[in-house]
Amino acid sequence: MLHIPCPHCGLRNETEFHYGAEAGVAYPEPNVLTDSEWAKYLHIRANPKGWLAERWVHFAGCGRWFNLWRNTITHEIGPAYLPFTTQPKKPDNIGQEGLKA
C-alpha cells in the first residue's frame, strides 16, 4: 500500500489511485509516423529498474492526473508534479526509509 502524494490532496493510500505508466509520452502527430514509430507510441513505455517518472490519477479523490518520481526497486516515492510543468530532477538514489542506513 504505497503512500502517494497527490499534489492536490496530499498523502493518500495507493488504493485511491490508478496507474498510468511512464510520464511524458506525448500523443504524437499520428499521420507522419511510420507503422513502427506509431507502434512504439502505442505499446512501448519505459520500464527501468530504479527511478521512473510515471503517471498516476487520484481517481477516488480529486480525479486529477499527475506525475510522480518513484523508485521501482525500493518503492521510494520522490517528488510529484503536475502535467505540463517542469519535471523535477531525478531524485538521488538514497533508498527509501527502509534501506537508508
Binding site: 509516423l33 490519477v57 527509501q96
Partner: protein
C-alpha cells in the same frame, strides 16, 4: 490467578487463567505432546512463544482453528485442544466468529513492549508525539515477564500516558512501504467461554506511522547435535521460565549447554527453583561476567570447551542422559539429565525489517544478524539493534562436528524433520545457495518459517564449508546471508484478512432507483458488473423462455418498458466539448444540432472498438453522453485522461451522472400513444418529435427529458428523470399502461430485440480485436477528421483481407438456437493430423426471435461481408449445424418501425 480447567487430547487439565497452555501441561507432567511429522518421533515443547517448532495443536473448542503453537494459547475455562502431527484440519462447520479491520495514523508506532520498546515509547511521548505501542504478549514487559519481574514504576507511567495507546495480543505481521504496518490483534480467544459473542475475534490493524520503532527482541537458538529433538531438551530460557515462573516441577536433574552467558542466567534460575543443575557445558574457552560469577558462587560445576554431542532416551524416547564432548580432546562422557537446557545464542527478530528489503548485518561480537537502523522514519532498538545487555559474550558455535550417523538424528528443523544429514546431501548435490538448500531440504517452510532453524542452517553451512577447508570456518554467516523472511511474521487466519468483505459486502452491489419495483414484480436478476439488472420478469409458472417470448412480443406488437438506468451517463460541457467529442468518437459530433442525439463509437489508440452509445446535445456546449453499463467508469477515466494529460487547452468538463438520472425505455408501436397520455406539454408525433431528437417535458409536474432513441428498431422513447422520481414515473406508466397490456422486460429481451436489429453490444459482439470496419460500420468512421485510433486502421493486420466481420447467421433448422461462442467452419471441415479443425469465425449473439419465428444469430466470420448466402458448419459438442451467412439486420432493414 483463577483456576480453570481445560482439555487436551480428551484429558482434563487444571491451569491458571491466561497462562500458556504448555505451562499448564508441563506442570501436570505432560511432556511429549506430539510425534513428529515425518519421522514419528516423540516431541515436546522447546520454546516460549511463536518460535515454537513442535507443540502444534488444534482447538476443539471455539473456532476450532488448527496449527497453533500451544506456547501462545492462553488457557481459559472450557478450552479444548488436541495435538497435531504437523498437518492441520479445516473444520467444515460454518465460521461464526467475527473479524474486523481498522485503520490508524500515528506519529510513532512502537513494535514490542519490552524494556527497549517502552523506553523508546517514553522518548517519543516526551517529544510530544502520539504513540501506538503494540506487543504480541498478553502483558507488557517482554523478557521481564519471562523472568517473573514487574515493570519498573517509570515504565508503568509510560503505559498510563494519555498520548499512548497500548495494544496487547497484537502482533505486527508485515512491514510495508512508507511505514505501513499490518498488525493482528487477538481479542477474544483468551476469554474462553466468557468471550462476548459480538466481539470481533481478531482485528486487523492497518497502521500508517510517521515513525516506526522496531523493538521485537530475539529468539534463543538451539544447537545441532545428535538426537537433539528429544522431549526434555529445551531452550534454556524457556525451561527456566516454565520452571521458575510457571511452577513446572517435573525436571529433577538438568544439564545446561551454552555458548553465551544466558545459559548461566538460566542455570541459576533453574537452580534457585530447586532443579539440580549438574553442570554447565560451555563451548567457549573462557567466560566472564556477573552471571558466570553468580553461577560459580552457587557451586554449579562449569566446564569450558565442552558441549553436548548426543542424548540417550528412555523407552518413551524422552531424554534420560546426555553425552558431552570435550571440544579439544574429543573425549566423550555421559551424564544423566531429564532436562537438557540449551543456550545457543540469540537470533534477533529481523523478520519485519527484511520485509521491506533491509539486509541484516552479521555481527561477530553478537554471533547474530542485527538490524541497526536509524533514520527519521525507522529505528531499531533493543536486541535487534545489538543491545544484548552487556553480559552475554556469545561465541559463534552451532554444535559439535558430527559423523554421518550422528547427522541423521541431528535435527535442524524439528517441524519438518530435516536433519544435518539432509543439509549435507543438499550441499553434496551441488547446491550452495541457502535458498536452494531450503527448498531441497524444506528447512524453514513450516508454520514457524525457520524462526529457530534458519540460523542453524546458516551455521551448519558455515561449518560444512569449514570442514571442507580444514576445520576452520571457511564461510562466515555474513557470506551465507539470511533466509528471506516474508510476511506474515506469524500465520494469520484467512478469515481475519477477509474481514467483513464477505457475502454481500465482498463487492458493492449497485441497484437502480427502480430496483425494489423489480423485486416486487418477481424479476430474476443478472449481475452486470456490480449492477443487479432484471434479466426477465417471469409470470407465475413461466420459464425464462416463455417470459422472454412474451416480453419480446409485447415490445414488437404492443408496448413494453425497461429500466435502462444502469447505462453510463456523462455530462460533457464547455466551449470545446464538440471538438473534444470529435476527437473521441470515430464519427462527427460538432455537426450535431441542439436537441438531437447521435450514436457514436469510440476506439482506443490501437483502433479497436472500445465503447459505444448515444450522445445528445442538450444545449449550447452541453452534451450528455451515454456509455455501456460496464464501460461507464472506463469511459469517464478515458475522457479525463485525454483532457488532463493531452489536451489541457480544451475547455471541457466531464461529470458522471449515471446515478443522477434514471432512464426508462418505453418501447413498441403503442408507446407513443401511451406516453402521450402522460405528457401533455409536448406533441410526441413523428413530425414534431422525430427520431433521434430529445425534448424536455413534464410528467405530473416532474421535469423529464424524453429522447427518441431505439435500441430495438421499434418506436421507442427514453424517459430520463432525476433518480428519485423514477419510481413515480415508472409506476404512473405502469398504471396508465394497463389497458395497453404494458409489459416490463429485462436484459434478455433487450438482447433479443437489439440483435434482431443487428445492433451490437461492445464486449459481446466484439472481443477486443474488432475495428469499426469489422463491425460493418464504415459509415461511422469519419474521413474528414482525426480521432483516436484512426492511425491504427492503417496497420497491416487491421486492414488485411480475411478479417472477422459481423454478419447474421441463420441455422437450417429454425428451431435450433446455435450456442453463443460456437465456431463456424467450412462445411466439410475435418480435424487435421493434430486433431485440429480450422474455423472461420464464431457466434457472438444467438437467440430465438418470436418476431422472426425462428432462431437467429450474429457472428464474426472471416471475410463474412463478402460471403452472404454461403453455408457454413457450426460444430459443437457432438453436433454439427448448418447455417447460412446473411445480413446482420433481421428486422425492418428500412427503418420504418422506429417512427
Amino acid at each position: 490467578m483463577s483456576e480453570i480447567s481445560f482439555s487436551f487430547d480428551d484429558k482434563i487439565y487444571k491451569g491458571h487463567q491466561g497462562e500458556p497452555m504448555v505451562a499448564a501441561l508441563l506442570r501436570s507432567g505432560m511432556l511429549s505432546i506430539t510425534t513428529s511429522t515425518y519421522h514419528g518421533r516423540p516431541r515436546a515443547v522447546v520454546g516460549l512463544g511463536v518460535e515454537e517448532p513442535n507443540a502444534l495443536v488444534q482447538l476443539v473448542s471455539g473456532t476450532k482453528e488448527s496449527m497453533l503453537p500451544a506456547t501462545v494459547i492462553e488457557v481459559a475455562d472450557g478450552l479444548a485442544a488436541r495435538s497435531l502431527t504437523g498437518v492441520g484440519a479445516l473444520p467444515e462447520l460454518p465460521e461464526e466468529a467475527r473479524y474486523d479491520k481498522t485503520n490508524r495514523y500515528v506519529d510513532t508506532l512502537v513494535i514490542g513492549a519490552g524494556l527497549a520498546g517502552l523506553k523508546a515509547a517514553d522518548e517519543h511521548l516526551r517529544a510530544g508525539r502520539e504513540v501506538l505501542l503494540i506487543d504480541d504478549q498478553p502483558k507488557p514487559g517482554g523478557h521481564l515477564r519471562h523472568l517473573g519481574l514487574e515493570l519498573p514504576a517509570s515504565l508503568r507511567d509510560v503505559l498510563a500516558h494519555k498520548s499512548l495507546t497500548y495494544l496487547c495480543r497484537c502482533t505486527a505481521v508485515g512491514l510495508y512501504d512508507q511505514n505501513y504496518i499490518v498488525a493482528i490483534e487477538r481479542r477474544s480467544d483468551h476469554l474462553g467461554n466468557s468471550a462476548p459473542a459480538n466481539r470481533a475475534r481478531i482485528r486487523v490493524w492497518h497502521i500508517r506511522a510517521d515513525q516506526v520503532v522496531l523493538a521485537p527482541g530475539a529468539f534463543q537458538r538451539p544447537l545441532i547435535f545428535s538426537n537433539n529433538d528429544r522431549p526434555g531438551i529445551m531452550l534454556s530460557h524457556a525451561a527456566a521460565t516454565y520452571v521458575a515462573v510457571h511452577g513446572v516441577q517435573i525436571f529433577k536433574r538438568a544439564v545446561v549447554a551454552t555458548v553465551d552467558n544466558q545459559g548461566y542466567r538460566d542455570a541459576l534460575r533453574l537452580h534457585h527453583a530447586g532443579v539440580q543443575v549438574q553442570a554447565i557445558y560451555d563451548a567457549r574457552p573462557v567466560a566472564e561476567g556477573s552471571s558466570v560469577d553468580a553461577a560459580r558462587a552457587t557451586g554449579i560445576p562449569i566446564r569450558f570447551r565442552a558441549t553436548v554431542l548426543d542424548t540417550v532416551s528412555d523407552a518413551e524416547g524422552v531424554c534420560e542422559s546426555v553425552i558431552i564432548q570435550d571440544l579439544d580432546t574429543n573425549e566423550t562422557f555421559q551424564i544423566t539429565a531429564d532436562l537438557l537446557a540449551i543456550s545457543g545464542g540469540w537470533t534477533p527478530i529481523v523478520d519485519l525489517a527484511t520485509h521491506i528489503g533491509i539486509k541484516p548485518k552479521w555481527s561477530e561480537a553478537h554471533a547474530a544478524f542485527l538490524v541497526n537502523h536509524s533514520t527519521d522514519r525507522l529505528r531499531t532498538h533493543g536486541m535487534l539493534a545489538g543491545d544484548f545487555g552487556g553480559d552475554d559474550n556469545p561465541s559463534i558455535f552451532f554444535g559439535p562436528e558430527l559423523d554421518e550417523e550422528q547427522s541423521r538424528h541431528a535435527y535442524i528443523d524439528l517441524q519438518r524433520d530435516t536433519t544435518l544429514h539432509d543439509l549435507r546431501r543438499a550441499v553434496g548435490a551441488g547446491l550452495n545457495s541457502i535458498e536452494h538448500i531450503k527448498r531441497y531440504t524444506t528447512i524453514g517452510t513450516a508454520h514457524d518459517q525457520g524462526k529457530t532453524s534458519g540460523m542453524l542452517t546458516i551455521g551448519a553451512l558455515c561449518q560444512l564449508n569449514g570442514v571442507a577447508q580444514g576445520g576452520k570456518p571457511g564461510l562466515s554467516p555474513a557470506d551465507v546471508g539470511t533466509l528471506s523472511f516474508r510476511p506474515p511474521y506469524i500465520p494469520v487466519p484467512f478469515a481475519a484478512l477477509a474481514g467483513r468483505e464477505r457475502g454481500p459486502l465482498s463487492d458493492p452491489i449497485r441497484i437502480t432507483s427502480l430496483h425494489q419495483w423489480h423485486v416486487e414484480a418477481g424479476a430474476i436478476f443478472e449481475d452486470v458488473g456490480q449492477w443487479k439488472r432484471p434479466w426477465y420478469f417471469p409470470k407465475p409458472g413461466e420459464c425464462m423462455e416463455d417470459a422472454v417470448r412474451r416480453e419480446c412480443v409485447a415490445a414488437r406488437q404492443g408496448v413494453a418498458m425497461m429500466d435502462a438506468s444502469t447505462l453510463g451517463k456523462i455530462e460533457i460541457q464547455g466551449t470545446d466539448a464538440a471538438v473534444f467529442l470529435d476527437r473521441i468518437y470515430t464519427n462527427m459530433f460538432s455537426t450535431l444540432p441542439e436537441g438531437q442525439c447521435r450514436y457514436g463509437l469510440m476506439c482506443k489508440t490501437d483502433g479497436i472498438v472500445f465503447d459505444d452509445g448515444v450522445t445528445t446535445l442538450l444545449g449550447k456546449n452541453h452534451f450528455l453522453m451515454t456509455t455501456t453499463t460496464g464501460g461507464a467508469a472506463r469511459v469517464l477515466a478515458w475522457l479525463e485522461e485525454w483532457l488532463q494529460t493531452e489536451w489541457p487547452d480544451l475547455k471541457v468538463y466531464c461529470t458522471s451522472v449515471t446515478e443522477h438520472i434514471s432512464t426508462i425505455a418505453l418501447v413498441g408501436p403503442k408507446s407513443r400513444q401511451l406516453l402521450q397520455e402522460l405528457v401533455k406539454d409536448i406533441d410526441l408525433s413523428n413530425a414534431t418529435f422525430p427520431f433521434m431528437h430529445s425534448r424536455e417535458a413534464m410528467i405530473d409536474d416532474i421535469p423529464v427529458r424524453i429522447a427518441r432513441i431505439s435500441f430495438s428498431g421499434e418506436l421507442a422513447f427514453e424517459i430520463n428523470v432525476t433518480w428519485g422520481y423514477a419510481r413515480h414515473i415508472w409506476e404512473r406508466l405502469w398504471a396508465m399502461g394497463r389497458p395497453y397490456d404494458l409489459t416490463a422486460y429485462g436484459t434478455e429481451t433487450m438482447h433479443v430485440l437489439r440483435a434482431e436489429k443487428g445492433y451490437i453490444i461492445v464486449g459481446q459482439d466484439t472481443d477486443g480485436t474488432q475495428t469499426p470496419y469489422d463491425l460493418n460500420m464504415s459509415w461511422i468512421v469519419s474521413k474528414k477528421k482525426e480521432f483516436i485510433g484512426k492511425r491504427s486502421f492503417q496497420l497491416p493486420y487491421l486492414k488485411a483481407a480475411g478479417r472477422l466481420q459481423l454478419v447474421g447467421l441463420l441455422s437450417d433448422n429454425g428451431d435450433e438456437v446455435i450456442p453463443e461462442g460456437a465456431y463456424t467452419t467450412e462445411l466439410n471441415a475435418h480435424p487435421d493430423e493434430h486433431g485440429k479443425t480450422r474455423h472461420t469465425g464464431f457466434v457472438t449473439s444467438s437467440y430465438y426471435s418470436p418476431a422472426l419465428g425462428r432462431a437467429f444469430a450474429l457472428a464474426l466470420v472471416a471475410d463474412g461481408l463478402n460471403r452472404m448466402g454461403e453455408v457454413v458448419a457450426v460444430p459443437f459438442g457432438k453436433k454439427v449445424l448448418r447455417a447460412t451467412i446473411c445480413d446482420a439486420v433481421f428486422i425492418d432493414k428500412e427503418n420504418i418501425r422506429r417512427d
